[in-house]
């Protein structure tokens, strides 16, 4: 429920922002300042999470440390390479 309300609030805010730009006389067309630039909500970084305690194999990295996360993901990638498991 709460999440639903939050969603609606965000949506209204975004639409309001658009409405405002549209009404301004000087900006009849896109000036290019905003075009091509992401207008949505910011997203978190995958490495800013704690590794799952359970059900994630041996996923290990230090929260917030991008490099250690990349090391984890690269190691995990070996699961897709049977040559690593077979050893030939």
């Amino acid at each position: 429920m709460r999440a639903g309300i939050m969603k609606r609030v965000v949506l209204v805010a975004v639409l309001a922002a658009f409405g405002a730009t549209g009404c301004m006389e000087v900006e009849q067309a896109s000036t290019g300042q905003k075009q091509g630039k992401y207008q949505g909500k910011p997203d978190g970084k995958p490495w800013d999470n704690d590794p799952l305690a359970i059900g994630a194999g041996n996923a290990k990295w230090t929260k917030g440390d991008k490099l250690s996360w990349e090391t984890q993901v690269k190691a995990r990638n070996n699961g897709q390479n049977e040559y690593k498991r077979i050893g030939d």
Binding site: G57, G79, R85, I86, G87
Partner: protein, 978 residues
């Protein structure tokens, strides 16, 4: 029965017994001369007596949970025989995530569409499961309680038994039960008092099991999916592994990447064929002409392994005679394979050894299936490819536990472990079961105990056939479908007639299955549906195609009102008066422990059930796989090598068990008790390894000589390190004494082994000592290229009963009709002759097969929306020429009619996958009946999402001459615009 090997009349030549001192003086190894002298076995002196005649056939709503609890359960996919592991993440009793198990040496984390969507089993929202017991009343399914259901069913069963005897019931078990449940169900049928029980193996690989076992040992894949990584050339004939066993293809493509050749032989250009180096199109049903055409080239060019044939094969000279007629010209005329291609394939296969041969139902489901599979065996024997890593007869089984259910499950012709039905077999198992043998005998109708039951492929005739023609007192009056779809069996039109006549139908299944709908379509009452748990809602072991056993942890509790199969078995048994016998409660002892299951009700414990199997199934070595060892393997998959399946080292942290040397899942035979740590057998009949390293040799099961020719292996042909360096018969107490090995037994072992042989000695001492001397408990013999106890000792091509080639029927006619065969009259020649010119009316060959998205009869997988979305209509593949000639456009509905009188409505898939003479329809559909949707006949909310016409509504008569396999891979049809 024709196929039952009678025990040879005990003519062991009287020779001097060996003394202990003599054996001490002699060196460690025993050559042929010494062996013959000491053992009293000599060629020409007759066969060695065995205690048991062996029968080779047949083998053929989330529940409450503590809040906030997250667990990872390791289980095995239930959708095919590859045995892919997965980790299920369970939160508060709800299965929330599926994680790949990269450590598994079998699937390395991979899944096909079915495996990747298996979590759907745990989703209750919009579930299409059968949710509670139901009963057909006035043509509608109504909800009833478990108590009422069990009460009414058992009363009716007892009434039928009283009126018509125990054989009036047919119990269809399941290859989807785990080992423990299949084993319990096999026992359950016998405690009820009948051999009328069977399961899916009958209609998938019964011909393989019988053919292969009679050729060289026991009926199973000789090597493994993994071992295909070691091959130099693989020939798939009648296998569409890319759709039926997708994860196995990973191993093949890995091998191919490293230089292996891949050849696919099939009437269809399948997804598997698309990956091959060479695709060979044959006419459906002409496997023998093709295989013997290859063999013709092998002999003509001297490519055969002469030493191997001499040392390890009996009867190849007779095969040579038969093969002479299969010149490239004749192969082309009969099978349609171009001569140049045949020669090229023969050379590739013969010159890239070790080469492996893969077959599936494309080869088994014919009226000569038993001969086709033996032709495959013979080709591999001629090339010396059996018992060799990278070679083998890689027979891909179907369901996840069809190998296990074949080994120890509900078979009409055998007690668990291929012990057959002879009195000795019952005595052996009654002792293991802790059941009074005299009581057991009384459960049976007089004279029926040793007689093989009917087969699932023929139950309809058990109902419909005139009573005077059947080989039991009463016709079938009651059917229990315990995890088996009816739409997987042929002759659907006659099946609904049979369903109409039954007095009682019981479906025990997680899904109502087509049985529920077909029954409701033709009758008003007398049908009960009981919701069973899936394999993800219980624990237990299952045997993958490569004979490895894997232990499944229970993922979730049984959903809705479902109960585990073992619980239902126990509860029904109690009502029917053999509850105590099912768990072996007698004289203050109980063989199998009861534990509290769902709702606090009792059920047999799976671990304890496996321990009982371990105590009794010595034949195929189901004795060393204790639940503890299996669980240690599941926890430590990373230590097992992918190519050899062997653990190079490793210790289980939880138990301290040392895994070193074990093969993953202890592939059977894993002889002796768990304590002696036999590692399992990765590749059968492999003489390059010693017995305790998983080596072996062909089985001595047919005496020591035939018509003056030695049947035992020749000198120097023995498993590595064997003290007997020549062929030898199977071991029993007499041979042990003659060899001076008897005193290697402990006193307790001696007491148990006296008068016994390697398969009936409950102490395991005979096996232990035999292997200590490096020898194989089952002896060391030659494989048989000629199976003289089969209708065609040397495989012969015979046209299918419904042949498109009237011109070939006279030259290659089918068998004569049989009068009493598995209790029923069985027609061959009369059907073929009557339909000799049927090809004019029905000019297209109709064949069937699998789709990757669905499994078996398909009710379970067609109820999974993630799969159902991918295949929403049943269809017929038809060649563009055949379609154009009939004015059929791609995607249109067409009628497919067959000589059975049925016609089914499916969509046309116009494609060059099939040749202009062949149509293909997948067999997973049900829920339509000759154009009509059967939705109204299903219990409300439990009909599968996708329904379609079952191809088997229209398939025709035709059965294998040894096993009653149905002939569903070759029949005839006509296609017309709807």
């Amino acid at each position: 029965m024709l196929l039952t090997r009678k025990s040879a009349g005990g003519a062991v030549a009287p020779q001097s017994r060996l003394t202990r001192s003599l054996s001490g003086v002699l060196g460690k190894t025993i050559d042929r001369r010494t062996f013959l002298k000491r053992s009293g076995v000599s060629v020409g002196a007759g066969a060695v007596a065995t205690q048991l005649p062996f029968n080779m056939l047949g083998k053929a709503e989330a529940a409450d949970a503590p809040a906030g609890k997250v667990e990872v359960k390791r289980t095995v996919c239930t959708h095919c025989s590859v045995g892919c592991s997965l980790d299920a993440v369970v939160e508060n009793g709800v299965w929330v995530r599926h994680e790949p198990v990269f450590d598994s040496p079998i699937n390395l984390g991979s899944h096909c569409a079915k495996g990747a969507s298996i979590r759907e089993h745990g989703i209750t929202a919009d579930s299409h499961r059968l949710k509670y017991p139901m009963k057909l009343e006035n043509g509608k399914y109504k909800r009833i309680s478990w108590d009422v259901a069990l009460d009414e069913i058992s009363k009716k069963m007892l009434q039928i038994k009283k009126e018509s005897g125990p054989d009036a019931l047919f119990l269809v078990g399941s290859s989807k039960h785990n080992n423990e449940q299949s084993y319990l169900l096999c026992k359950w049928a016998r405690l009820w008092g009948s051999n009328n029980t069977d399961h899916q193996a009958r209609i998938c690989h019964s011909t393989t099991v019988a053919g292969v076992a009679n050729t060289w040992g026991y009926g199973a894949m000789t090597n493994s999916y993994n071992d295909m990584q070691n091959t130099k050339c693989a020939l798939y004939i009648g296998s569409n592994a890319a759709e039926a066993h997708p994860v196995s293809v990973m191993h093949m493509l890995h091998a191919k990447e490293n230089g292996a050749k891949m050849i696919v032989v099939d009437p269809r250009f399948t997804r598997t064929a698309a990956k091959a180096d060479e695709y060979v199109r044959i006419r459906s049903g002409t496997d023998i002409p093709f295989l013997f055409g290859i063999l013709h080239q092998v002999f003509a060019n001297g490519w055969e392994d002469k030493k191997y044939i001499n040392d390890r094969v009996y009867g190849m000279d007779k095969v040579r005679e038969e093969v002479k007629q299969w010149t490239p010209e004749e192969v082309e005329r009969v099978a349609g394979v171009p001569q140049e291609q045949l020669k090229r394939v023969a050379e590739t296969f013969a010159k890239n050894r070790p080469s492996t041969l893969v077959w599936c139902m494309g080869q088994t489901q014919h009226s000569i299936g038993n001969a086709m599979v033996r032709a495959s065996c013979i080709l591999q024997l001629a090339l010396g490819n059996i018992g060799v890593s990278g070679g083998g007869a890689n027979i891909f089984r179907g369901h996840d536990n069809v190998q296990g259910a074949t080994d120890i499950g509900p078979n009409p012709d055998s007690l668990p472990g291929y012990y057959g039905l002879a009195p000795g077999a019952f005595a052996h198992w009654a002792k293991v079961w802790n059941v009074d043998l005299e009581w057991l005998k009384k459960q049976y109708a007089p004279g029926m105990m040793a007689k093989s039951g009917m087969t699932v492929s023929r139950w309809i005739d058990g109902v419909l056939e005139k009573n005077e023609n059947i080989d039991q007192d009463s016709n079938l009056r009651a059917m229990i479908f315990w995890g088996h779809s009816p739409n997987s069996q042929s002759r659907g039109l006659e099946m609904v007639e049979a369903m109409k006549r039954l007095d009682l139908t019981v479906v025990i299944d997680p899904y109502p299955s087509a049985t529920a709908a077909m029954s409701a379509m033709v009758r008003k009452d007398g049908v009960y549906l009981l919701p069973a748990a899936t394999q993800l809602e219980t624990s237990g072991s299952c045997t993958a195609s490569n004979r490895s056993l894997q232990w499944r942890e229970k993922v979730i509790d049984p959903l809705f009102e479902a109960r585990t199969d073992q619980m239902i078995m126990y509860q029904l048994a109690q009502k029917l008066g053999f509850g105590d016998q099912l768990v072996g409660k007698k004289d203050g002892k109980q063989s199998i422990k009861l534990v509290k299951g769902k709702g606090g009700m009792d059920e047999p414990e799976m671990e304890d059930t496996l321990r009982e199997v371990n105590r009794g199934a010595w034949t195929i070595g189901y004795t060393g796989q204790s639940p503890e060892r299996l669980k240690a393997h599941m926890r430590n998959m990373h230590v097992f090598d992918v190519k050899t399946l062997r653990a190079k080292g490793g210790v289980d942290k939880e138990t301290g068990y040392d895994l070193t040397g074990d093969y993953f899942g202890l592939p059977w035979p894993c002889y002796g008790t768990a304590a002696i740590k036999h590692p399992g057998s990765p590749n059968l009949y492999d003489t390059s390894k010693s017995m305790m390293d998983g080596g072996g040799n062909f089985r001595a099961n047919f005496g020591v000589e035939k018509d003056g020719v030695n049947l035992l292996a020749e000198d120097g042909s023995h498993s590595k390190g064997a003290e007997i360096t020549t062929g030898y018969p199977e071991f029993d107490h007499v041979l042990m004494k003659k060899l001076g090995w008897w005193d290697d037994l402990t006193e307790e072992e001696k007491a148990a082994a006296e008068g016994k042989n390697w398969k009936t000695d409950l102490s395991g001492g005979i096996q232990r000592v035999t292997m200590k001397h490096g020898c194989h408990p089952w002896g060391n013999a030659k494989a048989r290229a000629v199976v003289w106890n089969f209708p065609d000792g040397v495989p012969k091509h015979r046209e299918p009963l419904y042949s498109p080639r009237a011109d070939l029927v006279d030259k290659y006619p089918t068998h004569d009709d049989k009068k009493a065969f598995w209790r029923l009259p069985t027609l061959f020649k009369s059907v073929q002759q009557k339909n000799k010119d049927i090809g004019k009316q029905f000019p297209m060959i109709l064949t069937s097969g699998r789709l990757v998205e669905y499994e078996g009869g398909g009710e379970e997988t067609r109820s999974n929306p993630w799969l159902a979305e991918l295949q929403q209509d049943n269809f017929v593949e038809i060649n563009p020429k055949a379609a154009a000639d009939r004015g059929i456009r791609n995607g249109e509905y067409v009628w497919v009619s067959t000589p059975s009188g049925a016609k089914i409505k499916v969509k046309a898939l116009v494609t060059e996958r099939v040749g202009a003479d062949t149509c293909f329809i997948p067999f997973h559909f049900s829920g339509w009946w000759q154009g009509q949707d059967m939705l109204a006949f299903y219990p409300e909310g439990a009909a599968p999402i996708v329904r379609g016409e079952a191809v088997n509504t229209a398939t025709t008569y035709g059965y294998d001459s040894v096993t009653m396999m149905q002939e569903t891979k070759t029949t005839l049809c006509q296609v017309a615009k709807a």
